[in-house]
Symmetry: C2
Subunit: 245 residues, 2 copies
């Protein structure tokens, strides 16, 4: 399993992902699920991946090959709008899945992969898309400034309580880590290291990148502080009337 999320805030984009991959509980491995493309100085794309690892890896290979080919009809270099990048990624994903569909169906496995694609093309606003296994996509909005893929439920309530498109990028990154931490506590198939990337708008670069292990001092401090804060919040909940006080 996997849990990735990204936020489109007024100040820019925040991306976060875990690194655990598993085929059953006895084949657990670590792969980065965060991929950066800067095919020209006027654009940056980050892609987060969830689902079938063979699918998502092959999709990324296709994206890179299209960037290498001078005569590629379409690539992350040629797209003119961010949504065209999402469209293109969705098309590549569907093609990859189709090419393995028969064999995978026979074996009873799913080829499905999901993607979050975020970034910016100069002259346009930064943005964020979730590309479904079927190749269609939705974008984040000021009302719902985050998107999630993979094991999304455990980390959602905390997000929903704090998220706001006006959050500072660092606050967004802290919130993403809190959401990942909640997920890791409840689902062992989501695991460290955690990756976090911050892309301020109009910067066309990753300004901050963190790769956090469980024992990283910052991540440990964040977990302990969050846990302590939640317990404190719990202690201050109102008493039932029969308790008095």
């Amino acid at each position: 399993m996997t849990y990735c999320l990204a936020m489109s805030l007024a100040e820019g984009l925040v991306f976060a992902s875990d690194s655990r991959t598993n085929a059953g509980v006895d084949y657990v491995t670590t792969f980065s699920k965060m991929h950066v493309f800067t095919p020209a100085s006027d654009r940056i794309f980050l892609v987060l991946t969830a689902g079938n690892l063979a699918t998502t890896q092959e999709v990324l290979h296709h994206l890179k090959r299209d960037l290498d080919a001078a005569d590629a009809k379409e690539s992350l270099r040629t797209v003119r709008y961010l949504f065209e990048a999402a469209q293109y990624l969705g098309r590549v994903s569907c093609e990859v899945q189709r090419s393995h569909a028969v064999a995978m169906q026979k074996a009873g496995f799913s080829t499905e992969g999901s993607f979050i694609l975020g970034g910016q093309i100069r002259g346009q606003a930064h943005g964020l898309f979730l590309v479904y296994p079927q190749g269609n996509f939705i974008s984040a909005s000021p009302e719902t400034p985050y998107l999630q893929i993979g094991e999304t439920k455990y980390g959602k309530p905390g997000l929903d309580r704090v998220i706001d498109a006006r959050l500072a990028l660092e606050d967004g990154a802290r919130l993403a880590l809190v959401s990942l931490d909640a997920t890791m506590r409840s689902n062992i198939s989501v695991g460290p290291p955690l990756e976090v990337a911050i892309c301020p708008k109009d910067g066309f670069a990753i300004a901050r990148y963190l790769n956090l292990k469980l024992e990283s001092p910052f991540y440990r401090a964040l977990r302990e502080q969050w846990q302590a804060g939640l317990r404190e919040a719990f202690r201050h909940l109102p008493r039932f009337e029969w308790e008095g006080g």
Copy 2:
């Protein structure tokens, strides 16, 4: 959808459930999912239900009919151990599901129902069982003192951070409400009123019962306080090193 949970604490049992039932988004109704059986003065059982409403209602009808029948081979009155009540409930559930299986499969619907059964029989410890749609069951334990059915994921991280079998019953009830509240915020198919019941051990009765609407002053205060506490906890998370401070 549904979200029910129960806790087996050192001091006794806590039960909590939402009341929303839906067949699609355009047929949303309210049904209590908390059912109490006190067939004799030496025993009490509480049953929480999730899944197909026709299944869970018919199972409850069977349980009541068996209690009415003086010659019933087995009922909540005749079982000698709490696990026998779980076994019996599982058997009834499987029979009910089997009786509708063909028609339901043809229509593409699931007959599955899940149950949490908790209570106490005099001379034995209080306890808690989750009865699966297949009729088998697991019990809560000092290490994992809670059980959930229905839409369980959103409300789990909060639970996991605070739960402890040594919690006071009132704290358990507050924690259950926090868990229900997290779920309701993220899934509109889980909804009020919320029911909470507290059964102290060796009491063989429900000592406290609450039916909380969204606008109930206590529930509103609890939600606001929890939201404020979480935001406060978030504000106190450690800064990244590049932020200084």
